[in-house]
């Protein structure tokens, strides 16, 4: 057990201060605790109050509302609502439009995650090897990271613009006449490129800092044991990077599912009809523009479940990482 050493050492000095009897805690709770703490009937609540108030009003209240309104159909003119049980869910799940959007979201998420992780890793490995200039690359890439999703969507839209886009012009030499915004697959391609572009720097930063944490002694030992650079990478470096990679995996999936909203909204320009969109965009479009509160809430709840499963996955990984260390 990795955390047993963190357990408070009860007795001695502490019991003399009067903390001893309370300092003995279960290991899981002990990790949260300091050995020495204040006790006060009011103060901790005073300190917690602002954060808790904001969370209850703007997190729990809307979440509960999403859950409850997913079981109702709201009257379009605001005259009450009717309980319909699970029919919002079944309507959503069995609609072919929803299914195709879900399929696109899955493919998009897989592609974006895979491409941005692998390119980020490749660049990080290369930057880790060079001694001079690594910080220049880091600066360049971190600058890209700070750009907002809708801004990168706008830039991407220009690069893929019908009239002025350089990429479109370049591709027309090869006989590919891209019509981003009109052709489903061309738009999907452009979206994926922009989404990957935006996420590479993040992965790069994490992989590079992971690589630089690999101890010199391990590297030197690996150098002696194994001549082939590629094999050294697969057998020594990559396993050491595994925790970083797992962490990034969930971050990237979350990114592709949710944070790409800005890119997609800018690139489809309010015309989602023939264009690929993700599930989050659909929640927004149905609820905010289509005024289908019940359906949109049901979709929200479905997404909540997806996120929940992802989080559980991440926790299992964190647990595993504790064992590694």
């Amino acid at each position: 057990m990795a955390y047993t050493t963190l357990q408070p050492q009860a007795g001695g000095f502490l019991s003399r201060l009067g903390f001893g009897n309370k300092a003995r805690k279960k290991p899981a709770a002990a990790e949260e605790m300091k050995r020495v703490q204040f006790t006060s009937p009011v103060l901790p609540y005073l300190f917690l109050f602002p954060q808790l108030a904001v969370i209850i009003i703007f997190f729990y209240w809307p979440s509960v509302q999403a859950l409850s309104s997913s079981f109702y159909i709201e009257d379009p003119f605001g005259f009450g609502s009717t309980f319909v049980g699970l029919s919002n869910y079944t309507d959503v799940i069995f609609s072919s439009e929803y299914q195709s959007i879900a399929l696109f979201t899955a493919v998009f998420t897989l592609l974006v995650t895979f491409l941005s992780l692998s390119i980020g890793l490749l660049l990080a490995v290369k930057a880790d090897r060079i001694i001079r200039g690594a910080s220049t690359y880091k600066t360049l890439l971190i600058a890209i990271y700070a750009i907002a999703a809708p801004v990168s969507g706008l830039i991407g839209m220009m690069i893929f613009d019908q009239h002025v886009g350089p990429f479109v012009k370049m591709m027309s030499f090869f006989g590919w006449h891209m019509q981003v915004g009109l052709n489903y697959y061309d738009t999907a391609f452009a979206m994926t490129v922009v989404a990957v572009w935006k996420q590479i720097p993040y992965n790069f930063i994490f992989f590079l800092s992971g690589l630089q944490n690999v101890p010199v002694s391990v590297r030197e030992a690996a150098m002696i044991d194994c001549r082939s650079g590629l094999r050294r990478f697969w057998t020594v470096i990559l396993p050491l990077l595994a925790p970083t990679a797992f962490f990034l995996l969930t971050i990237n999936v979350t990114y592709a599912l949710f944070d790409t909203f800005g890119i997609i909204d800018v690139m489809v320009k309010d015309k989602p009809a023939n264009n690929p969109v993700t599930l989050v965009y659909k929640v927004y479009a149905d609820g905010f523009r289509g005024n289908d509160i019940g359906g949109s809430s049901a979709q929200s709840v479905i997404l909540m479940i997806v996120v929940f499963v992802l989080t559980i996955f991440q926790f299992r990984f964190i647990e595993r990482r504790v064992h590694y260390n």
């Binding site: 949260e32 605790m33 703490q37 204040f38 006790t39 103060l43 901790p44 609540y45 300190f47 602002p50 954060q51 808790l52 904001v54 969370i55 009003i57 703007f58 997190f59 809307p62 999403a66 660049l123 290369k126 930057a127 090897r129 690359y137 360049l140 890439l141 971190i142 600058a143 700070a146 750009i147 907002a148 809708p150 990168s152 706008l154 830039i155 220009m158 690069i159 009239h163 002025v164 886009g165 350089p166 572009w197 590479i200 150098m223 909203f261 800005g262 909204d265 800018v266 320009k269 309010d270 989050v280 929640v283 927004y284 609820g287 905010f288 929200s300 909540m304 996120v307 929940f308 989080t311």
Partner: protein, 280 residues
């Protein structure tokens, strides 16, 4: 020692080119006139319309009501970015202080109540959040723009991690010297958290400045538009126009990315430290 090969540099250079080129193109193109861009395409060369374009974007009144300028949008984005970062730091430092340094019955419960917010990003509960805001009459207010974004535990967790790493001896010594909870917090804990506060400020400022979906839903009154919201409306004007104002759109994009990029590049060591060491 491993010696960097030519191919290593080549891959890095190509990679950085792929990543940086679009930004350079966006900036350079913004210095040309719209007609020029329409006939010659995007450009890598410096045009001579830089001052005219940016002056127009910053000062010309646009939008449907005609009273929103680029400068106003920059100000709104700043209010959102700074307000969000400061609010986040104050709320989460206080909450983390209570959780780490106090022993009280509801500690575990409060911890989980805050922790659960990490499970659901704002995007999945966007509609009900909007309804709550409209019930509270907070649409088109700065409060409505900033406060709901604070309902997440990220900051609390950064500070909790940090406070847990603060040596115990500090509190023991402070108690022996007779410091109470307030004095310890303000005179000792806040000063030693300086670097952490700076790192979180940068991360949160960039996050707030770059918000898109929430400002888009919350603000219909143009005097509350942020730059991100402005990008959306400049695109809506495009539909149906013959020669879109490419230069103005690019200039707006450059304005929108300049502050976060500048801050992150200048303070990059803090930024990376804040990002990678706290592990969310």
């Amino acid at each position: 020692m491993y010696r960097a090969k030519f191919s290593d540099h080549l891959i890095l250079i190509l990679g950085s080119l792929f990543l940086c080129m679009p930004v350079v193109v966006a900036f350079m193109t913004s210095t040309h006139t719209a007609a020029d861009i329409h006939s010659n395409g995007l450009s890598l060369a410096w045009g001579d319309n830089f001052i005219a374009t940016y002056e127009k974007v910053l000062t010309q009144k646009g939008g449907f009501t005609g009273d929103i300028t680029g400068a106003r949008m920059v100000m709104n984005s700043l209010i959102l970015g700074i307000g969000f970062a400061v609010g986040k730091i104050v709320l989460s430092m206080m909450a983390a202080y209570a959780i780490v340094y106090f022993r009280f019955p509801m500690a575990t419960l409060s911890f989980w109540v805050i922790f659960t917010t990490l499970l659901l990003p704002l995007e999945v509960r966007i509609m009900p959040s909007y309804q709550v805001m409209s019930d509270l009459g907070l649409l088109n207010t700065y409060t409505g723009l900033i406060v709901p974004l604070l309902a997440s535990a990220t900051g609390t967790f950064y500070f909790r991690q940090f406070f847990k790493s603060v040596p115990e001896e500090l509190l023991e010594a402070a108690r022996i010297d007779g410091a109470g909870p307030f004095k310890f917090f303000i005179d000792i804990l806040v000063p030693i958290s300086r670097t952490m506060i700076a790192a979180i400020f940068i991360i949160m400022f960039v996050y707030g400045w770059n918000q898109y979906l929430w400002p888009m839903m919350m603000t219909t009154d143009e005097s509350f538009f942020t730059l991100m919201r402005g990008i959306k409306s400049i695109l809506q004007v495009w539909v149906g126009s013959n020669i879109p104002d490419y230069n103005e759109a690019f200039a707006l994009a450059v304005l929108a990315m300049l502050p976060p990029v500048a801050i992150v590049v200048i303070f990059q060591s803090w930024f990376i430290k804040g990002l990678t060491e706290s592990d969310k």
